[in-house]
């Protein structure tokens, strides 16, 4: 068997190199997607190493309640505080840096939840079809017929306003989009003969859905995941801004914008920099998503 092992390694290494080369080539065709990738990598790095990057981690509530320093309130952007300080004298740069953690966490949670629910629903509805499929997709349609932000608001309002509940509210809104996407993909993959061939071998429905069909619909899910990260962050920030998400003094971007709104336009830096952070994050995920869409050659939406 060692010969086979050898082959395995040589072959797969060769193939891996080859496909990596192609992917790199496709990415190069679309330089903006590389910018997006750079932004995302940067954001993740910042989120992970926030305590070491931020000059005043305690201002963002690192290891305890956010510190206050009223002597220093509303300091204009300067070398000491590049993004200025807020009404409690906290360093906005440090808070924006820590905000990355909340936004990424929110996006990840929401989408993991949405994919966890939406993908199986779409798979079952698409492959099993019939009455079950109809019921599942009609439920999905009901969710889809209400604008997401409105629905998220409707879910968030009765809950205690908090970051966690905001995440739940958004996740509830989000899964139907994945159900719909996967359903559409499954409908076409289902007709491929390898699905029938698998049935002819005696494979169970579960096996066919998850082992045969699912790998063939991963590409659009990946692209949508990337595109959606931006939107999820945006909606999370919107809920924060409306006071339904993370509560002050949590350094969440939307919450910070809402807080700073009261001090516009004199203390313009308070709302502006968290806004710019949202803009960059959303842009980054969108650019990456677009690039992935080209690389994986899929249509989403």
């Amino acid at each position: 068997m060692s010969a086979i092992e050898n082959w395995y390694h040589s072959e797969s290494m060769e193939n891996r190199k080859e496909s990596a080369r192609r992917i790199a080539y496709r990415f190069r065709q679309n330089p903006l997607s590389l910018v997006g990738l750079g932004i995302i990598v940067g954001l993740v790095f910042i989120a992970i190493f926030a305590p070491y990057i931020a000059r005043h981690p305690q201002d963002a509530g690192y290891m305890g309640e956010p510190a206050v320093d009223f002597a220093n309130r509303f300091a204009e952007p300067s070398l000491a505080h590049p993004f200025g300080t807020d009404q409690a004298g906290r360093d906005i740069l440090s808070r924006v840096i820590f905000g990355t953690r909340y936004s990424l966490a929110l996006g990840l949670f929401v989408l993991t939840f949405a994919i966890g629910i939406g993908v199986p629903v779409g798979l079952v509805a698409g492959y099993v079809g019939g009455f079950t499929g109809q019921v599942l997709m009609r439920i999905t349609d009901i969710f889809l017929s209400v604008p997401p932000l409105v629905l998220a608001l409707a879910v968030a309002v009765p809950l205690q306003p908090s970051l966690r509940n905001a995440m739940i509210a958004i996740a509830v809104v989000w899964w139907p989009w994945y159900a719909r996407l996967v359903y559409g993909e499954v409908i076409s993959v289902r007709e491929e003969q390898f699905v029938e061939a698998s049935r002819g071998i005696g494979a169970s429905r579960i096996r066919i859905m998850f082992r045969e069909i699912l790998p063939n619909v991963l590409a659009p899910i990946t692209v949508k995941f990337s595109l959606d990260m931006g939107y999820a962050i945006l909606i999370g920030a919107s809920l924060g801004f409306l006071g339904l998400g993370a509560q002050p003094p949590t350094p969440e971007w939307g919450t910070m914008i809402a807080e700073g709104r009261a001090y516009l336009p004199a203390q313009w830096w308070y709302s502006t920099f968290p806004g710019v952070a949202i803009f960059i994050a959303v842009l980054g995920f969108n650019l990456l998503g677009d690039g992935l869409r080209d690389v994986l050659d899929v249509e989403v939406d």
Binding site: E18, S19, R22, I23, Y25, R26, Q29, D294, V295, D297
Partner: protein, 402 residues
Amino acid sequence: MSRTDPILELRDLEVHFDTFDGRARVINDVDITVDEGETVAIVGESGCGKSVTAETIMGMLPQPPGEIVDGELYYKGEELLGDQTAHERVKSESMGMIFQDPMTSLSPVFTVGEMMRDVLTYQGKTNVGWLEIVRNVLGRRDADEAEMRDRSVELLDQLQIPDPEGVLDRYPIELSGGMRQRVLIAMAMLGEPEFLIADEPTTALDVTVQDQILDLLTEQIERENLSMLYITHNLGVARRIADRIYVMYAGEIAEVGTRDEILDEPLHPYSRGLVDSVPKLTEFDRDGIEGLLPDYTDPPSGCRFHPRCPAAMSGTCDVERPPRYELSSGQEVACHLYEDGLSRAEAAEIAAEEIEFDSGAAFEDRPTSEPAQDRSSVKGESAGTTASIDAQTPRSAEDTDE
């Protein structure tokens, strides 16, 4: 060239494609002549470049990624490849085209009658302004309208379409495959062409329908004294329709001869392998042909067929590209086994002696040099290329037998 009056002459055509894997040298030095009133078939397997050749003649080669590197195309003595306006004019005045899939050539949102009317209105015009189109849509004269309709009905009738009046008011989707193909032929005939190019027009059809369509085509050609270039992979169809046959392999012409010469006693090892492999009512040879179509970005030196050829002579075939040797009968074979001026009998003897396909090798359609790599596996790099030019274009070896 001993022939007197070619209506179409393609000389030294070389077409390259830019792909992700490099420059694919697809068409290599192809010459094709079609005489007045003659039907010529180009036969070959998928990926051999027959459709690229047809696209070049029709002026429909997508450029880029394709590029005509060299070659001339003479239509009644007028050079077309160097002069796009002339090409357009000749195409619209004198050429008719029939494609494989009528559904993609017919617009689903217009009725057959509307499409035929438009062909009649705009044929021969290479440059139509918006104003003219609007004027035509708004104020078409009834007399013209009736005349066009009559002409359309007449043509549909010639193509044995039952109830031609009714068909004019129907959409393509309401017609059967055979009817659509007939409509397509009728539309190609509307412009009263002298020269038809047909690219696998019966491939998607059932045999009984194919039989009818071939009958109709032959009939039209005889009635109007047309010349035709017919592209097909089906040797049986080529026998039904062609006077002369060009066998193409890997972007080169392997052999040219009359229908009977090529099909009853092919001389080129490739043609022989091809003809032998077709299941026949008599029998067929299960040995097939070793190997795969070569990678066009790195074609074999010498004869492009030599890596798969059972009669290949090392030192010759892998070094020197065979010229087209002309036998005394006029048949031409691009193979080092032969020489100029041989009689057919002599050539046949050589073929019988030298060409022996055997089933010995275990991994017969295993690539000869490097493993087949599907370039379309990561789509897009040559997206324009592969998608738009159809399966006949040079993706690479893996497409050989699809």
